[in-house]
């Protein structure tokens, strides 16, 4: 067997985390992207910058602040305790929250670009064909932005799989709970288990390459739309 039970668990946990984060960001990121693509408000600049922050911020900074906010004395931590849920750091769902922030730009930006590329006209056309704004969003904007959603989902998924710093800060290293593949590799190296580190690293390398290959090779021809 190439992989130990621990490695397999880490991979499954990683895929689980990435799937959930992608799903949450599809729901959360779409309205943000829509707003950013169409607003003429002064707030577009500041909000756009906030969304892009995780691109430049060291993951440890993001993780540090999340740790404070979600910790027992932070506002989010107080709230989750009041709900009787305990605190989020060092749990799977804490990891989900952290990854949602961390991968936000990878969902929002491609979707925003796709919405911007559609422009105003198809929505005006839909309005002259009796479609309400909500109706035209689902019947025109979403289908036309579909390639953007595909790109965004793949990027978000892959980026979440590859995250390490944030996990280390707010997730720690709990098997079956927060020990994702990247942390598992780190553990192997720490323990000088280079063989196992090799196996898992190779899997990550191949996975990442295949994801990007899919993205670049099958990207729909923009001229055709």
């Amino acid at each position: 067997m190439l992989l130990s039970e621990g490695d397999l668990g880490a991979i499954i946990l990683t895929l689980e985390l990435a799937s959930i984060v992608t799903a949450i960001l599809l729901v959360l990121g779409t309205p943000i992207a829509w707003w950013l693509a169409r607003t003429k408000s002064w707030w577009k600049g500041p909000l756009g910058a906030v969304v892009a922050l995780p691109l430049v911020l060291p993951p440890s900074v993001l993780g540090f602040y999340l740790l404070l906010t979600m910790g027992p004395h932070g506002p989010v931590g107080q709230f989750t305790q009041w709900l009787g849920l305990g605190t989020l750091p060092f749990t799977f769902w804490g990891l989900v929250v952290g990854s949602v922030f961390y991968s936000l730009p990878f969902m929002v930006q491609p979707v925003q670009n796709a919405f911007e590329a559609i422009g105003e006209r198809p929505l005006e056309v839909a309005a002259t064909l009796r479609a309400s704004p909500l109706d035209s969003f689902f019947s025109v904007a979403l289908p036309l932005a579909l390639p953007g959603f595909l790109t965004a989902s793949i990027l978000t998924f892959a980026h979440t799989v590859g995250e390490f710093g944030v996990v280390l800060m707010i997730g720690g290293n709990i098997p079956g709970e927060t020990r994702v593949a990247s942390v598992q590799i780190y553990d192997h190296v720490e323990a000088l288990e280079y063989g196992q580190a090799h196996n898992l690293s190779a899997i990550m390398l191949i996975f990442s390459f295949l994801v990007l290959l899919a993205l670049y090779a099958w990207r729909p021809n923009p001229k055709k739309v």
Partner: protein, 361 residues
Amino acid sequence: MNANVPDIRARIDLRFPEFSLDVDLTIPGRGVTALFGPSGSGKTTLLRCIAGLERAPGGHVSVAGQVWQDGDNFVPTYKRPLGYVFQEASLFPHLSVKNNLEYGRKRVDASHGHKVSLDQAIDLLGIGHLLDRKPDRLSGGERQRVTLARALALSPRILLMDEPLAALDLARKQEILPYLERLHDELEIPVLYVSHAPDEVARLADHLVLLEKGRVIASGSLHETLARLDLPTAHFDDAGAVIEANVAQQDEKYHLTRLDFAGGNLWVGKVDRPFGSRVRARVLARDVSIATQAPQGSSINNILNARIAEIRDDGPGKVLVRMRVGDTQSLLSRITSRSRDHLGLVEGMYVCAQVKSVALM
């Protein structure tokens, strides 16, 4: 036709730093009204205001007896029973032709029944063979025909068209114009047609609104407005009068057709249409010359008795003459000021108008 069709009313006052639109317009609730003017005159903006795509605070829009905008009341575009054809083909690329046609139709409140059936719209525009195709498999002309059918299938109370032919080459235009004419002849839907092409306007419109720099400089029936010498249209190279006539006689030997109109008749190259059918003819001012006596031995077939109604300068050395033929028909002629002086032409004089060529539309 119903004589009690409510008028279309639009009062729009929009001000931007570099452009303003100040219009108070009442136009007939039937037939084709052309909004005509140079680019930047505000035609498209006016059309968009009527459709509700542009918001003009404080404006008033009423169509077909319904108020669409007044005071704080603003009916959003999707609740206005209109059809809109944009300048460029605007089919949804992710839907087939059939689904494009059905997109608007299935969203229309059909409780009162459809005035125009889907089959009728498909038939009228000759797109039955295209239904399963995606828009990117259509030619430019086909796309615009589908767009038109899609708007028609809504059974709109008004059809707004923003230069629907402007993006097409001449051949494609010729392909679509007959369909637009059929629409005019067969459906009782008022049409507002934005254009800057005089030939399209002369061919399709019944009523003409001239716009310049965001203001209406003239609004009236096509015949009267095109015959007015005080408007910029009179100074176009292809200025001319439009004559509405009936096919009255076919001359097989000479391959000619006689067209009768109130005030006279015109012989033109054979028109293959049944006796009595209506034809629209355009007589350009540069194709009409004037004689003070009936000319002898002329090769010109069409010589009409006319009375000079108005003479105006038309640039250096040239004048425009407006003549009455019969009680209602006007005819324009562009001649040199030398000829005017030489023949002593004055208003009120009876003359012979020699028509060198007639363009049928």
